[in-house]
């Protein structure tokens, strides 16, 4: 499974990215990512999850591309979602991401 993540927006305007390829990870880490993805049910999420009030400004936008065998899905999350499993996945992705050139 491969996760390609980008966080844009926020008052800083900086972009952070992460690419996670679980097959290259130690077993326990791989299991953690798989559990987070399963709990958030990423493949079942709509293409856009609008968690923010439409009047919100300087909120973060998260983009997750997930690829697993033949399956491929992109989800854009605006703001901070209420659902704890999706929040947990985003927290982990943000923790793994680094600032990227723009």
């Amino acid at each position: 499974m491969k996760l390609t993540y980008a966080r844009s927006g926020g008052v800083t305007g900086m972009v952070k990215r992460a690419v996670i390829e679980t097959e290259h990870l130690p077993t326990d880490e791989r299991a953690t990512w798989e559990q987070l993805v399963a709990a958030a049910d990423v493949f079942a999420l709509p293409a856009t999850v609008s968690a923010a009030d439409p009047r919100q400004r300087d909120a973060f936008t998260h983009t997750i591309l997930i690829e697993d065998g033949p399956r491929r899905h992109t989800v854009e999350v605006k703001g901070t979602p209420d659902a704890p499993p999706l929040r947990a996945l985003l927290d982990r992705l943000q923790g793994a991401s680094t600032r990227a050139p723009q």
Partner: protein, 356 residues
């Protein structure tokens, strides 16, 4: 039409009624005839210029607003990324002294006050909605959260990750930036996408930096024109209005239209391309008089123009509208505003009466 017919369109508070959309040539005529400074000021403050203005929209928004007392209150979000369950730390309504040693609380109270005072004293605006909207702030928002935001009703400030960023309460201009998103919401409501979104961001930076300059009593030449100075642990600032692209190592902001960035991220690069109108404002202030205070020279041109822009305005529209308003104030102002936009490779043209 005689001027007295126009005067009949003002209500008792001196505000222009919804149908009062006056073409610039007629406004010039009225301004020339105005006998007192107060009358001139009222005309400039109240009359809505040209086709950007949709008076009915402003009135509709005004009807929806709740009246407050512009009172400040600060809550502790307790490191959760939500305001539900937050604890009230301090409120003006309670009238208590600020005894809590939390530096974020002190910063937010001081800088929110500075923002409220600026709008009241410089632009006679009573809080973000012009009706005394109560200003609620949430500090310690999220866990090491690298952000500050206006959420549509309130402000949220993160502590920063402690590695790259200090607390997001550290800069008065960032707090002014967030509250100005509220002003935009209640006025032009610039669409948060592409060029109109970059104008929305730029207006927040312009007012944010004017709030800092007013707070520190700095002239154009003395001010640093940086946004978020002190926020970075190892960098200068988030953005430079004077030299976009030099705020920090890797700052991607373009400094003129020939470097405009097309992107799908960040709502079409709203925090990127805002560098272009940001610099136009700085250059206009500098061209007018670097030894003067920007909030007294070109600042009012920007404020009065931006609160009246249509929600889908682009850079050219903003350039033409600021130039047209500056022309009403005088040739020196007009020349400075045109020079400002020319520096970023936008040719500001006067709006014609046909567009009104």
């Amino acid at each position: 039409m005689q001027p007295r017919h126009f005067e009949g369109h003002f209500n008792s508070s001196g505000r222009c009624a919804a149908y009062c959309i006056v073409p610039p040539y007629l406004l010039e005529h009225l301004l020339n005839k105005a006998k007192t400074d107060e009358h001139r000021r009222k005309l400039l403050d109240s009359l809505n210029l040209s086709s950007h203005v949709r008076g009915a929209r402003t009135v509709a928004l005004a009807r929806k607003q709740t009246h407050g007392t512009a009172e400040i209150s600060v809550y502790d979000a307790q490191h959760r990324e939500t305001s539900s369950g937050a604890r009230l730390l301090w409120s003006e309504a309670k009238g208590g002294a600020l005894t809590d040693p939390d530096p974020d609380l002190k910063n937010v109270v001081e800088f929110t006050r500075a923002t409220r005072d600026f709008y009241k004293e410089v632009f006679k605006r009573n809080s973000v909605d012009g009706k005394g909207y109560n200003l609620r702030s949430y500090i310690h928002f999220g866990d090491g959260w690298d952000n500050a935001q206006w959420d549509g009703t309130q402000m949220d400030y993160g502590d920063g990750d402690g590695v790259d960023f200090n607390s997001f309460t550290s800069s008065v201009d960032v707090i002014g930036h967030e509250l100005t998103h509220g002003v935009t919401q209640y006025t032009s409501d610039l669409d948060y996408q592409g060029q109109s979104g970059a104008l929305n961001e730029s207006f927040s930076d312009v007012m944010g930096t004017l709030i800092k300059q007013y707070h520190l009593k700095q002239t154009v030449a003395k001010a640093d024109w940086l946004i978020g100075q002190g926020l970075f642990k190892n960098g200068e600032a988030l953005r430079s209005m004077k030299k976009p692209g030099t705020g920090y190592d890797g700052d991607p902001q373009p400094a003129d239209m020939s470097h405009y960035k097309k992107t799908n991220q960040d709502s079409g690069g709203v925090h990127l391309n805002s560098g272009i109108p940001n610099r136009a404002f700085y250059e206009a202030c500098h061209a007018f008089d670097p030894q003067k205070n920007a909030w007294e020279t070109i600042g009012p041109v920007w404020y009065q123009t931006f609160i009246h822009l249509s929600s889908n305005a682009d850079f050219q529209t903003a350039a033409n509208a600021t130039f047209t308003r500056a022309k009403l104030l005088g040739a020196a102002q007009a020349q400075a505003v045109q020079a400002g936009w020319a520096a970023v490779k936008i040719d500001a043209k006067a709006e014609t009466s046909a567009a009104a």
